[in-house]
Assembly symmetry: C2
Homo-oligomer: 474 residues x 2
């Protein structure tokens, strides 16, 4: 970050590491300050498995007060600190360098309160998403945040990265689930804004500064999450479509009939669909091949006739020529088989050498972008294998290029090639995974110099010594 | 704001006003720089009618570029600027002092684009809410922001104050309707983040820094608003309840059956209800008096049987003893008559001397707070007339005390007395109206010293000379 004038790790600490560690041991207890072999591999990299690095130390505070004391010590010493959650990120955002101190929230865990009248759940940052989900469900509610890493990822990390996941089309991203937030600033000051109120216009809404800031502005320690009523019914369909515009029309048609009871609208281009069918060893429920597929879920509240109404709307669409074909799951097993095709991505790391993209674009522009992108990839690297799919209701497109199909080509060249195509569209190089360290150089494709300058002004105001997660984002 | 070290208006400008006005005329044209009698009364106060003041000048820029040039000139001259929308605020947030320059967005108006595929509406800040609503409706969508001032208030002001209004329970506040935002910073830099994407995790989400900041961090010039499918059905009921906890239980019961198809859940305590019936000259649809009333609206998508299902759920609740009584509107006229009781507040300024509160509390604590507050008011000012009502699904309680019933008591004493009761609960002194200048002294009831210090650090980072809306918020 030196080009922005923010302190670079390791170059400007004002105290020797040993002195800082002694102060941290005095504040947190010796057991909460790990060094060398005491640091488990878990703290060394994330789910990208990118360059595992042993940090200079690993802190394990148990309370907000301990996080505050630890940060005050590091702030005074100009010692870089990298906040760590479940280490399930896909952008390198929580990977510490050898001169950084990692601060894990894993001991600051647990559900503090479920308030049924307010429909809120107060949790500590180190609580896993699954634990929070189960607490909500036990009280008849639903936490509207879900993603594959639910058993390992932590609420603090989910909020710091504004995680997306499976329910965005219905209930928004992680940001939209937060009513109150407690954060410790770089200097140790505690901002405890743990209100349960939906409406609260008393000055700047501080929580929004920290959600999605990837640990660069403060360390999230607790949160008040909004709970939703539990959806009683789920119905799944797979439909075949003529082209991308037909998918957008169908999405709007369903919204007009079902509002936000549409819980998934996953588009699969034929390259992805055919590969998914092959990978899962299933059979396509359609006899013919089609230009585009959509996996659609209706998740509603009325158990009586939700399935019937969903089927009727799809049948009407078929008869009106808005669909080529449709299959409606008649059982949980049927639904699972349809979802298995979409979820073949879990096999990608085992079956190919994935070069993954997580971009976003205006919904209406995604179809043309896919066509242009495929043509450009074919021209640049003939014979490449690329799989396109996405949560298009959220404006989110995923693309995986198999590195084995472009032998001798550096992954970085593929990243740069595709991201560059987003520039004229002001598309996003990261819809849901964040920037971390891995996409840092591509951030200016999505953000203007004025936007980056404003971000850096804010970073300096809240973390003047630049100790929080240096080398990430900027 | 001098106690926070931020430049006080009029004391530190670096150029005489005449020089600044000459530079502004050169940049915007003489017609866009009004002084003295050329400034209409509209620019002098808001809907509080609080101390009308003629600003030193009124600017009427037509483009984002003109806003940028105007702010750059004022920034260089350390000249305070007060952004103005439709002047319908209730907290004095847009009232300029005699030494301030007011900057009206009224000429920067109009809908730029409706993107049906993305379900977005791009508008200029000076567009009235009603114009934006009509553009959405003409394309078969709905803008999920609505409030009484719709014909006069402007989108820029709605966003700068994070307006609440009639649909929060269903679709959130103004903040939740925004996908992209363009803002001009104090120094004239333009942050143009007009993306249409639902998901976009590329650095700090700048729009959230400005929404609800009441014009103290930047001037909003354009926005990309999210559109919702149009709700085809509306059904209204008035129910009578035993006590507040029964209202909360009913709210949760309805959410479990209808998700967010519940479009209103307005609680009226008997003092308010009886006064509303009297004021509107209607008759209560109930023969008996009841301890609590709820006006409920179901707004859904399925035209076939939505009304029948809504009635069935209320009938079940009645039979289960969860309600004392219920009336379901059988016509638009019926529904209007029920709403008229709740909307009698429009008559308040004419029929009494209103001392208005707009507070928020955790939903489960509102009932006990009302009881305590009424008892405390009765003890302090026997014979006072106080009317309690609220959008409790949004955790929002309103209270109006009739100043005529506490003769000789300064309004300020009543404000201080009630707000002080919120302090131990960390309640909000402003749920939806904002802080402006009128609630400034009460902000520390809802915000801790650490929170206020963080807000001021950001204010300094983004507006180092403190020219934007000084004397507001802090």
């Amino acid at each position: 970050m030196t080009e922005h004038g923010i302190t670079e790790s390791g170059t400007t600490t004002t105290a020797p590491l040993a002195t800082t560690l002694d102060a941290l041991r005095a504040a947190l207890g010796a057991d909460a300050v790990r060094v060398g072999e005491q640091i488990s591999e878990h703290a060394m990299t994330d789910w990208t498995r990118h360059e595992p690095t042993r940090p200079a130390a690993l802190l394990l505070p148990c309370t907000t007060g301990e996080v505050s004391r630890a940060l005050a010590i590091c702030h005074a010493a100009r010692q870089p600190v990298v906040p760590q959650g479940g280490m399930t990120g896909l952008a390198g955002g929580a990977i510490a360098r050898a001169t950084d101190i990692a601060l894990s929230l894993e001991r600051l865990a647990g559900v503090e309160e479920l308030d049924a009248a307010s429909a809120t759940l107060t949790v500590r940052a180190g609580t896993t998403l699954q634990t929070a989900q189960e607490a909500a469900e036990a009280a008849g509610f639903e936490l509207a945040l879900d993603l594959g890493a639910r058993g390992s990822c932590q609420i603090g990390g989910n909020l710091a990265t504004n995680a997306g996941g499976n329910r965005v089309i219905q209930s928004g991203t992680a940001r939209d689930q937060v009513l109150g937030l407690e954060v410790v600033l770089a200097n140790g000051d505690v901002l405890s804004s743990l209100g349960k109120m939906v409406k609260n216009n008393t000055g700047y809404d501080l929580k929004h500064w920290f959600i999605g800031s990837e640990g660069t502005l403060g360390v999230i320690t607790r949160a008040v999450l909004r709970l939703h009523p539990r959806r009683a019914t789920r119905h799944t369909a797979l439909v075949a479509l003529d082209h991308y515009d037909a998918a957008v029309s169908l999405l709007r048609r369903l919204a007009t009939r079902f509002g936000n009871d549409i819980g998934a609208f996953e588009i699969m281009w034929p390259d992805f669909y055919d590969f998914g069918v092959k990978l899962t060893g299933t059979r396509s429920p359609f006899e013919a091949a089609h230009p585009l597929y959509a996996l659609i879920e209706h998740a509603g509240f009325d158990a009586d006739d939700a399935g019937e109404r969903f089927a009727r709307v799809l049948t009407d669409a078929l008869e009106a020529g808005a669909l080529r074909d449709a299959v409606i799951a008649q059982s949980v097993g049927d639904a699972r088989a349809l979802w298995a095709i979409r979820e073949c991505t879990a096999e990608f790391p085992l079956k190919l050498d994935p070069i993954n993209f997580d971009v976003s674009l205006p919904i209406g522009e995604i179809g043309a972008f896919v066509d242009r992108c495929r043509a450009a990839l074919d021209q640049r690297w003939p014979g490449n294998e690329a799989y396109f799919f996405g949560h298009i209701g959220d404006s989110n497109l995923h693309l995986t290029v198999d590195g084995r199909s472009v032998p001798g080509v550096d992954h970085h060249a593929v990243y740069a090639f595709v991201y560059e195509m987003l520039r004229p569209l002001r598309g996003s190089v990261s819809a849901e995974h964040g920037i971390g360290s891995l996409k840092r150089e591509f951030l200016p494709i999505s953000r203007s110099p004025a936007e980056l300058a404003a971000m850096i002004a804010i970073k300096r105001a809240l973390d003047p010594h630049g100790i929080l997660n240096p080398g990430k984002l900027f």
